[in-house]
């Protein structure tokens, strides 16, 4: 399987970032790829999908081929300092200083840098730690605004830091993020006006401004409609005929609006969105992710034909 190593999942709050991250992890693990799921906003929701209370702050096995880790912001600084400073006592001394910790918390961009640096280390831990290497690293990332902020950080910091080891780390991170062979940013949205607008805007920034490799957008919870085209027309023509018709009009209009928005998104970004069906209830365990994983496969270079736009979820052009 060819495809990116690093998947950064983002989207508006509640759009289904965690669900998509879990479904992707589930696909890769099924293909027997060593996959690391990273919970960057550690609320345990990703871990719960795999039957765990929460992921630990060091990568650990969740099940065959699948590993999980939670990002603990308070440990990032420690990890970074002890990795770059050659002498343990020096690192300890520095970390013991409350002043240094305050500095780490206050300086703008530091927390962003530390998170990206940590992720980059999981993607490529280097020669001496090559046994800890993963085929795929999937990051359940922050919401779109924060993610854009995060992805802008290396550039902004490069402007501020003209040289030194930090500069070199930043260059490495920047190279990883902008490499289409290694990285894929996935934007998840619901078929709702605000989410679709925000997604189009995120694409404009990610592709047009930051030149980062972006996957087709994922539209989650696309409503289905039990009525065929001619049935819809007939129902809408009949006007107000009581609650049974009102219920029918509700599903038809909801589906209609979603179609309009998805077409608009496709026009705006020039990419065909991947549509995920609306499940009766939100997935609470991995097996419930199956229909989503199936729908997501076209997003990946797995050599399978794209079948996403068949069946009741096809959006007519």
């Amino acid at each position: 399987m060819r495809d990116a190593k690093l998947f950064l999942i983002t989207g508006k709050g509640g759009a289904g970032k965690t669900t998509v991250a879990a479904a992707l992890g589930s696909i890769f693990a099924r293909y027997k790829e060593r996959t690391l799921l990273v919970e960057s906003v550690a609320d345990g929701s990703l871990a719960r999908l795999f039957g765990q209370e929460r992921f630990a702050s060091q990568p650990h096995m969740v099940r065959d081929h699948l590993f999980g880790v939670r990002v603990d912001p308070s440990l990032l600084l420690e990890g970074y300092v002890s990795r770059i400073l050659p002498l343990p006592w020096l690192a300890q001394r520095l970390l013991a200083s409350s002043a240094f910790r305050a500095l780490g918390a206050a300086a703008p961009g530091v927390s962003e840098f530390l998170l990206l640096e940590r992720i980059a280390m999981w993607v490529d831990p280097g020669f001496w730690r090559r046994r800890e290497r993963y085929h795929r690293v999937i990051v359940d990332g922050p919401a779109t605004g924060h993610m854009l902020h995060l992805l802008r950080a290396p550039r902004q910091l490069l402007n501020l830091v003209p040289g030194g080891p930090l500069h070199r780390s930043l260059l490495g991170i920047q190279a990883l993020l902008s490499d289409p062979q290694r990285t894929r940013i996935v934007v998840v949205t619901l078929p709702e006006e605000l989410g679709i607008e925000e997604t189009a805007e995120a694409y404009r920034v990610l592709e047009g401004e930051l030149f980062l490799p972006v996957a087709p957008p994922v539209v989650n919870r696309t409503p289905s409609c039990p009525f065929q085209a001619e049935e819809r027309e007939r129902i809408l023509r009949r006007g107000d005929r009581g609650p049974v018709y009102a219920a029918a009009r509700y599903v038809i209009e909801r589906r209609g609006l979603a179609e309009v928005l998805i077409r608009r998104l496709r026009r705006q970004i020039g990419r065909k969105p991947v549509l995920l069906p609306e499940l009766e209830r939100p997935p609470t365990k991995e097996t419930a992710l199956r229909p989503l994983a199936l729908a997501l496969e076209p997003l990946l270079d797995l050599g399978t034909p794209a079948t996403i736009e068949s069946g009741s979820h096809a959006i007519p052009r």
Partner: protein, 373 residues
């Protein structure tokens, strides 16, 4: 438009929004995508319909709602929205960057000092994205609106923060940051040396500082020091404002409303929001449920002959079952949080896009017939 299912109505038995609208400030809280902006706007409409001078401060409205409220992109001015029948309310949108600039201008000792901050690279690149700055500025804007004394009721649509604390503690957080030891260190990294008690420690710290400088590059430290010392002179002004804002929000004049949808994940977040709010010492007034499915009872005999009837009926039954499930879950949420359900709005296939839509939602919230005041 779906109307009300008697089971949904009796399960939820909303207590009404009358008491909420008697507050000077109504803060709408909830996670992203629940329709906070819509509910906030509709609450302001409901207040205006009760003869109050009302305003809604929105953060990031959808385009159609923005148009309905007469707001343009990046426009921070107050707009008067005509609601018909001689009623009106004010609407405005938060512009974080501009609000920050305004505050810097106000508190800087001299115009030159303000200019120095505006020209600082760190301010330029980060003032818009500084930790919690949009939350902070929302609070500041609220303070500004209250100070005008022009309104009886101000409804605030809050930024989509992951945590309530981000919003309520935002003003304090920036201040704590600026007043912290970090400030001193940033201004002169050699302050670290004061910590050293022995000569050996001093030497090791000197090595560290050198390493730090090499690591970060000196210009970064210089820019930071400049930024931080520029702000330091305004700390008093900022601190006073932050205190006033905190008092305002924590006074009896402020009501907290939790906005939720009946989606299970959303309700989970709402529950956590409520807990966090209480940990911060704020008691929410109740829950407003947005987008609840509910269709009238029907025995529908006249449409039985329709060839589509079976399909129509199956769809109707499915949505009714879903609506009842939603009502039960919402009731459980209210029981778990010991909060009253203030009001609910029926699920709409389309989001509101006009003043008429908003008035309709306002009437649903108020439990009156559409168009009645």
């Amino acid at each position: 438009m779906p109307s009300r299912d008697s089971f949904v109505q009796s399960t939820l038995s909303p207590v009404g929004i009358g008491a909420i609208l008697e507050h000077k400030i109504v803060l709408c809280l909830g996670c992203g995508g629940v329709g906070k902006t819509t509910i906030a706007a509709a609450l302001a409409v409901a207040a205006a319909e009760r003869g109050k001078r009302a305003a809604v401060l929105t953060v990031d409205p959808a385009r159609r709602l923005k148009t309905a409220l007469g707001l343009q992109a990046m426009d921070h001015r107050v707009h008067s929205v005509a609601l018909g029948a001689g009623l009106s309310m004010d609407a405005l949108m938060l512009d974080t960057k501009r609000m920050f600039d305004t505050l810097v201008e106000r508190f800087a000792a001299t115009p030159e000092a303000a200019a120095r901050i505006f020209h600082n690279r760190i301010y330029q690149e980060l003032s818009n994205e500084l930790a919690g700055s949009s939350e902070y500025m929302a609070m500041e804007k609220l303070h500004e609106l209250v100070s005008t004394g022009r309104y009886d009721t101000i409804v605030l649509d809050t930024p989509p923060s992951a945590h309530v604390a981000d919003l309520l503690a935002a003003p304090n957080r920036l201040l704590t940051l600026l007043a912290s030891r970090a400030v001193k260190i940033l201004k002169a990294p050699t302050v670290l040396l004061d910590e050293a008690r022995s000569a050996a420690a001093k030497v090791s710290l000197q090595v560290l500082i050198k390493a730090l400088e090499r690591l970060t590059g000196l210009p970064l430290l210089r820019d930071l020091a400049d930024f931080v010392s520029g702000f330091e002179h305004m700390l008093d002004g900022f601190a006073r404002r932050a205190r006033e804002t905190q008092e305002l929000v924590r006074s009896r004049d402020t009501a907290f409303v939790l906005v939720t949808t009946p989606h299970p994940q959303t309700m989970r977040s709402t529950y956590l929001f409520c807990q966090e709010l209480r940990e911060l010492g704020c008691e929410p007034s109740g829950v407003i449920a947005n987008q609840v499915l509910g269709f009238d009872e029907s025995e529908d005999t006249e449409n039985k002959a329709d060839p589509l009837f079976d399909k129509l009926w199956a769809n109707y039954e499915r949505l009714r079952a879903l609506g009842r499930q939603q009502a039960r879950s919402l009731r459980a949420l209210c029981n778990d949080t010991h909060l009253p359900l203030l009001a609910y709005t029926p699920a709409l296939a389309r989001p509101p896009g006009s003043v008429r839509d908003l008035r309709h939602i306002a009437s649903q919230l108020a439990g009156t017939k559409p168009g009645c005041t």
